[in-house]
Amino acid sequence: MKELLTAKKLVTRTTLAFAAMVVVMLVCSLIGTESVSLKAVFSGLDTQQTTNTDYEIFVHVRLPRIILAAIVGAALACSGVVFQALLRNPLADPYILGISSGAGLGAIVAVIGGLNWTLWGRSPIAVFAFAGALGTVWLVWFIGRFTGKSHVTGLILAGVVVNAFFSAVIMFLISVAKSDEVYATIFWLMGNMTEESFLVLWLGAGCVGAGIFALFYISPKLNALSFGEDDARSMGVNTAGTRTIAFAVAALITAIAVSLSGLVGFVGLIVPHGVRLVFGPDHRQLLPLSGIVGAIFLVAADTLARVIVAPAQLPVGVVTAIVGGPFFLVLLVKYTHKIGWPSK
């Protein structure tokens, strides 16, 4: 009989994956146009020498960026898991309910408005993107509620339509904006990692970490919800409460990710599928492992984005799609027998 998931197995796998993530983050922080020596970095930690270049690059340039990529990758991957489960749709990703267009609209409004202030170290683009993302999810949720019993289909359709409408508004604003404003917006829309302050990183990591923990707590109920609301309810799940919490938390961590890095595509779609193909669909395992693999994937992708055309940099969203796509297809071919695609 198939080996079943136990708490011990989950702790072991999660710990190993977490250790692998730390190693990847460490290795990636040494790679770049300027190579960094770990020995020199640690001597810098001991003496706090301000002239230690390796230490400066490691602590103030590479580490913040790599931690940011890990936060964003974990948030998008976990959010993708939740949206796929709740919408029972393998094509769902964190942006399916219009978060991307809402965030994009917020960002371009901030750019065109010429706003120039900061809130907890965040630029107006980030703040408006965050508000736009959450506002759009609320709007889609509100519209979806009127569709009643076919809630899932109604939500997806509302998301698609709101996405299309806001995208059209974005295109309109871009077409009437000045060229430097257009460049700033497009650059943001492609998704980029930048060196953030540790205050922003701690805040982001804290919120995303708490969100992922909350999602893990309700993960057994997500298993039941994958079979539909009626089935889950008859198995004893408070479906309305679980769905509301899951949607709200997933939308919140996606909005945080988007406000930190712009629209990084593909992570929230392929990481959950990749982990599901290798380890199975049980959400108790899928959520934490997707978070960690999402972090590893985006850290590695951002490192490639930094070095592949150095000294220039690619938007990380380009790398996630170019590298992630073929990698995912290999997984799909290798593990497809485990899925048991329905014959009808």
Binding site: M1, A7, R233, G280
Partner: protein
């Protein structure tokens, strides 16, 4: 003693009334088959009995307690549901899916205890699904999948099992197999079985009591031989039937306009 009491139950969708002033009781450990034409409210009634829908008027009592008093979790300890067959989107294996029946009983961090696993193993054994426990659900045939869904309901360890057309799309062998399994669960485990079906012949053979719902809100409730008659079937379904007997129970063959030799049929029970 009655485990389910339905009293003056009415329900409708928008302007259309589906169930009207319906009253009946189901005794603990009995087998009720619900039949009727499409749109008569069979699945609606099942959804009312598991609180997926809320009645417009009237009451439903489970174990002498009105159904509204139960939370989803407490009701999941009383009533398990096997809905019309569907294939899940993600590749859960048979064992993973049957284990989900224990969701209502899981502790804080949601892992099954040894006792949970024992109950699941017994459910797999009883439904003869242990042999493909590791296989993805989507890779099974319709009959095998249906047995897995019944195993999940069994693993929920409830007194009542509600089933919505458990034999639709299945061949003769699997139809009989499913009904044999349900009857075994009734007789050996003392389960109360409520099954919606379009097959009144199987219903007559296996059920202790039957409920025939009419599309106009009328209904007949009682033993199959009293409820399923040529006149009732003609009235409710609007088709003539050829009737015969298997043991004490009637069986019926529907006769359409082009039925062969229908003019020669005269025998009635």
């Amino acid at each position: 003693m009655s485990i389910i009491e339905v009293s003056h139950l009415s329900f409708g969708y928008a302007e259309a009334e589906v169930l009207r002033d319906l009253s009946f009781e189901i005794r603990h450990g009995s087998f009720l088959a619900i039949a009727g034409p499409n749109g008569a409210g069979k699945t609606t009634l099942l959804n009312l009995l598991c609180k997926t829908l809320k009645a417009k008027s009237g009451t439903i009592k489970i174990d002498a307690t009105v159904i509204e008093s139960y939370s989803s979790k407490t009701l999941a300890g009383k009533v398990a549901v096997v809905r019309q067959e569907f294939v899940p989107v993600f590749g859960f294996s048979v064992i993973e899916m049957v284990l989900m029946a224990r969701t209502a009983y899981l502790g804080t961090f949601g892992f099954e205890s040894k006792a949970d696993r024992k109950i699941v193993a017994e459910a797999l054994e009883m439904t003869d699904t242990a042999q493909f426990a590791s296989r993805p659900l989507g890779s099974l045939s319709g009959g095998e999948r249906q047995r897995v869904f019944i195993a999940r309901a069994l693993a929920q360890d409830t007194d009542i099992l509600l089933l919505d057309e458990p034999t639709s799309h299945l061949d003769f062998k699997h139809q009989v197999g499913i009904y044999d399994l349900l009857k075994t669960m009734q007789l050996e485990k003392g389960k109360t079985i409520v099954a919606v079906t379009h097959d009144i012949n199987l219903a007559a053979q296996y059920a202790d009591v039957t409920l025939l719902l009419g599309a106009d809100g009328s209904y007949e409730y009682g033993p199959a031989r009293d409820v399923f008659t040529c006149e009732q079937i003609k009235k409710v379904f609007g088709v003539s039937v050829f009737a015969g007997k298997v043991g004490k129970e009637n069986f019926f063959i529907p006769l359409g306009k082009f039925a062969k030799d229908s003019g020669q049929i005269s025998r009635k029970p």
